[in-house]
Structure formats: structure tokens, C-alpha cells
Amino acid sequence: MKFGKKFALAFGLVLAMAGAAMAAGTVKIGVYLPITGGNAVGGGLELAGVQLANKQIPTVLGKKVQIIVVDNKSDKVEAANAVKRLIEKEKVNAIVGTYGSSLAMAGGEVAEKAGVPMVGTSCTNPLVTQGKKYVFRVCFIDPFQGAGAAAFATQKLHAKKAACLIEVTEDYSVGLSSFFERAFKKDGGKIVAKLNYQKGDQDFTAQLTQIIAKKPDVLYIPANFAEGAIIMRQARELGAKFKILGGDAMDNPEMVKIGGKSVEGFSFTTFAYAPEMPNMNPTQKAFTANWKKANGKKLPNALAACGYDAYSIIIDAIKRANSDSPKKIAAALAATKNFPGVTGITTINKTHDAEKSIGIMQIKNGKRIFLTVVNPK
């Protein structure tokens, strides 16, 4: 063989061996998020958080950690397919995902059947982890979020009468409002109006006119940031004076852009992290600094923090289990206690949910300010 060919062969062999060595020594973490479709905004933010975490913590137990990203297109069938692919084709050790509870439910079924641990980022519907051994999440669940909102409404906003405007086609909206309702009634409040709209609706004037006539102290809108901004705009245009309260889906800077002056005074519950929050703990300070270094002017937000936490908690579980076998990771995840996450100290409870604080933010003078934190009982 000529020298050139010998060299090529040797080079090829070396590459192959290196490749094999790399493959044997990598921990694969699958990531399925909505990068396109209706939930693309949230998915994109969480992905950025996961990628930052991967950069900060690239190895565990001496092996390299590789993240494999699949787009679930904000669609349930795609979500199930995505998780199947990650498990069957890519043979991941654990999965991060996803934004959007209905997507997490679809993907969770697949992960559960295959015995691969899945850590949800910001999916707050209780049904996601219900009855599952392999599905976890780093965020609080909606019953807690709804109760937190109700507590804020009765204690801080001194509201006795509330109205709800619900996106009837969106399980998040429907679920969260019913939890708010229950908690609000338990705190002695009265729900004076409960109206619906559908996905894609842009005209809420009919419903809002009704709500205004019932004179509530507060209007609860568990909506998406874009619709929520329009609802607030139309409400103010109709002369509504009551306070408006929302959920974590409103946590997006675009909301202020779309809503303009009408979102002034709006408060919402969200995960306990915001770049503007005072009294950051060291984990949060480090996250904010690292984010700014990696992403420049773009501000971090709670969803990115959730993505970051989901990844980090898996790495932590691998360390504690001293193994990258999916079963052992799952066992370690279930035993997580007081993990220092960016979104708060995280303990995974019996139902595989995180008992964490809720952050309450408000829009003042066009800026988002971090008001307070509501702690779990």
C-alpha cells in the first residue's frame, strides 16, 4: 500500500476508535421541546437554559454529557414520537421536557413505558406525573399555583369578588382557573363571572363587557401572553378599572410590547426567578451572570431557569446514583432533597413534583418588577 493510503487507513482507524471511545464514554440526555408551533416561544427559552447548563456542566462521572434535541412541534402526536425516537434511536439515559403540559403528558406515557426518567421543565398540570414512576418535574403544580394566586388576590389585592376569563380549548387555562376558583372560594371569596374564549380568538369585547357589568375586584386570566395582552388592552379600552391577575404563561417580555400601557399594574404568578429580582441567592446570581456572558443582551427569564434546573437536577441525580443507568437515575431523582436550583430550593415529593415557592411579578411603569414570593405550606 502506498504511504498515502496507509495514512488514510490509520487516520480512519484512529477516528473510529475515538468515535467509539466517545460514544462509550458519553451520557446522553434527550431534550424534547416545542421549537415550532404555538408553544415555540416557551420552548425556545427553555432550550436556551438547557444549552447553557450543558455548557456549564459538560461532564459527569468522568463522561461527556451530550444533549440531543428533538422538536415536538407543540403537537401531542409529535411529542410522543419525539420521546420514542430519543429512547429507541438515540438511546438516551434521561430526558428533559417539556413546556406545555399536554405535550408532557403525551411524552410522559412513552417514557414511563420504557422506564426512562423524564424531568418536566415548566409543565404544571398535576396529571403529568400522576401515577407515574419515571416522570418528574422541577416546577410546582397548578393546584399550588392557583392557590398562590388566590392567596395573593385575597391578601394583597383585598379582593372579595373575582371573575375568570378562560381559554376553554387550552387545558392549562381550564385547569389553572378551576384551581384558582376552588382556593378563592375557600378563602371566602365569590366568583361573580366565568366566561370562555377559544384559541385564536382576538375579540374579547363581548365577554369583557359582561364581566365589567358584574363589578369584580379582580379578573383572573390564566392565558397565554399574547392573548392576555390583548385581553388587557380591550379591557382598559372598555373602561375596566379592576386589577388583573394571571399565571406563568404570561411571563414574557413581549407581553408588555403587545399590551402597551394597558398592562400597567398587572400581576402574575410565575416561577421564583427573574433577572430583576432582589435578594438573589448565589445559584441565581451565578446563573444570571453566566447567561449574560453567553447570550449578551437577551435577558434570561424563568423558563430558561426551569430548563437549566431540569438539566442540572438530572446531573445531580447521576452523581448521587453514581451511575448513568436510567433506573438508577430515576431512583436518585425521586430522592432529591434541597437541591439548589435557580428557581428555588427543590425537593421532589411523593408525587414527583417539586415543592417550591411561587414568584409574584408585577408590571410597574412598563417594567417587570419582582414583588414577592409565596412559599409552600
Binding site: D71, S102, L127, D171
Partner: protein, 346 residues
Amino acid sequence: MSKKTKLLLNLICLGILCLFLWWAQNNLDGYKVQVLNLIAVNAILAVSLNLIYGFTGMFSLGHAGFMAIGAYVSALLILPASQKEVMYILEPIIWPFSVMHAPFFVSVLAGGAVAAVLGLFIALPVLRLGGDYLGIATLGFAEIIRVIFTNITPITNGALGLKGIPAYANLGWNYFWCILTFYVIVKLLSSNFGNTLRAIRDDEVAAKAMGINTFRAKAISFAIGAFFAGVGGALQGSLITTIDPKMFNFQLTYNILMFVVVGGLGSITGSVVGAVVITILLEWLRLVEDTITIGSFQIPGVPGMRMVIFSVILLFIILKRREGIIGGYEFSWDSVTRLFNRKGDK
């Protein structure tokens, strides 16, 4: 070719299919098995739409609605009562839906049956309409069904949908229903009723003039198509294990329309080919959207390109080759012998 030989050939093919499925179940990874399952369900859906549109000439865009009915009825029948209680966190499920239960075969049958009844009910007002209007009217009905399902929370759990549906729909069941669908529809189309439908498709006025009760024939065809759409929906529900009203949108009907158009209207073979090709293509096209990693290089995927390519393919077919891939030909054993005889002549 004698009837006996044809029967023998059909049974042999069936046997080969069973062997293949058994092999696939045990040897292929879950992802590929899922694709095979999807192919079976899509074939049922494609054939059911082809019956209504390709063979009877009724441009129906309401398939997603029938699928929704089939899926929900079947799911409510196979979900265990304990799961139902736990899942309905908004408003508790009402009787008798809380206690109804049936074995899988019955539930799929029921799903199809309810869809068929609704199909008949819809047929009454809309079948008088011509081509385009029928399309929009059936689309309207599908949307109405979707909106109703979203709102009747005590029955359907509204926007939350149903999850944890027992995954009974495996290769065996799906292909069983697939073969059953083919058998029924092929038998139907090769009978006199089939000729009636084709006559109506080609020239309704002439058919009427021949004394055919076109309304009755169209209604029956519509109901049968709706039945199998319901069956397809029921199977898909059990396959994905979670359903909600949002997934039964116009996009779903559009996908099935693509199977039929790409494969070729008025040909069962075409629908099957269309279903197989598009299902595989949809999976394969994920390549375009995913980041391709070669060593440490990453070629970024373009999210959303899959559906763009999809629509381009549909446009291409409709503009350049309207008859679809198969072009209206129908596979039959006779045509195979003819092929061999012709070769023999040379």
C-alpha cells in the same frame, strides 16, 4: 384466473403479512413498529375518504370530526373507571359515561357505529349540495363537533382531553381492522352498489335519469366512509393513548386528503400506496428539521420545513399529475396474469 386461485393467492398474501408483522413485532425497535402501526391506521382513513370522495365523488372535508367521535366513544369504553374518576379534575364525569365499559373490539365497533349514525344525520341536509359547498359544510360539521367536545366537560373532560387510554392498538389489531376495512370496501365496490357509486361520481344527472336513487346511495356511502373514519380514529386514540379536541382539526383532514390525492383517487391500491408513502415520508422528512451532527459539525435544521415540503408535494401532484402516483389503476390478480401473459407473448 379462477376464483379459487385468487382466494388462494389472497390467503397466501395474508399469511405473508402475518409472518412479517410477527417478525416486526419481535425484531424491530419501537419507533419502526410505531410507523408500521401508523401506516395501518392511515390506510384505513385513506380508504374511507376515498370511498366518499374518489368513488362517490363527494368532496367531504369532515373526516376529522368522524375520527373525533370514534376516538372519544372508543376511549370512554376502554378506559378503566378508576382512571376516569381521577382524570376528570374539572368536572366529575357523569353517569353512564363513568361506568360504561366494553372490550376493545366492541369499543372500536361502537366508535365506528356512532360516527356512521352521525354521518347519516349530517348527510340529510348537506348531500343536496354540490362539490365546493359540500366541502365547506362538512368542514363546518367537523368544527362544530370539535367545539362541542371542547365544551361538554363532564363527558369529554373538555380541553384536558383523555389520557392513559389503554394501548390495545398493536400491530395485530390495527392490521386486522385494516384488512377488514379493505375486504368490506372492496366487496362493496365490486358489487352493483359500487357501480352505482361510480355512476354517481361520473355523472349524477345521468345516474338519476337511469332511475338510481342517488340520495340514498350517497347517504349510504357517506355513512360507511364515516364508520371507517370512526374506526380509524378509535385505533389512533388507543395508539397514541391520549386525545383532546384540539388534535381533530382541519390539518388532520388535510393529511388524509393528501394520502388519497397523492395515491390517486378512485383506487384502493392508490390509497394504500399514498398512506404508506406519505407516512414514511413524514417521518423521513424529520431529517430536514433536525440538526444533523457530523462529528462536531452541526448543520442546523430548519423547523417547519417539513410541512412546507409536504404542501409543495401536494401542489406538485395536483398540478402536474392529478391522477396521483397510481393513476387510478387498481391492483388485482387478473392484471398480474395479464402482465405475465404479455411478457410471455414476446
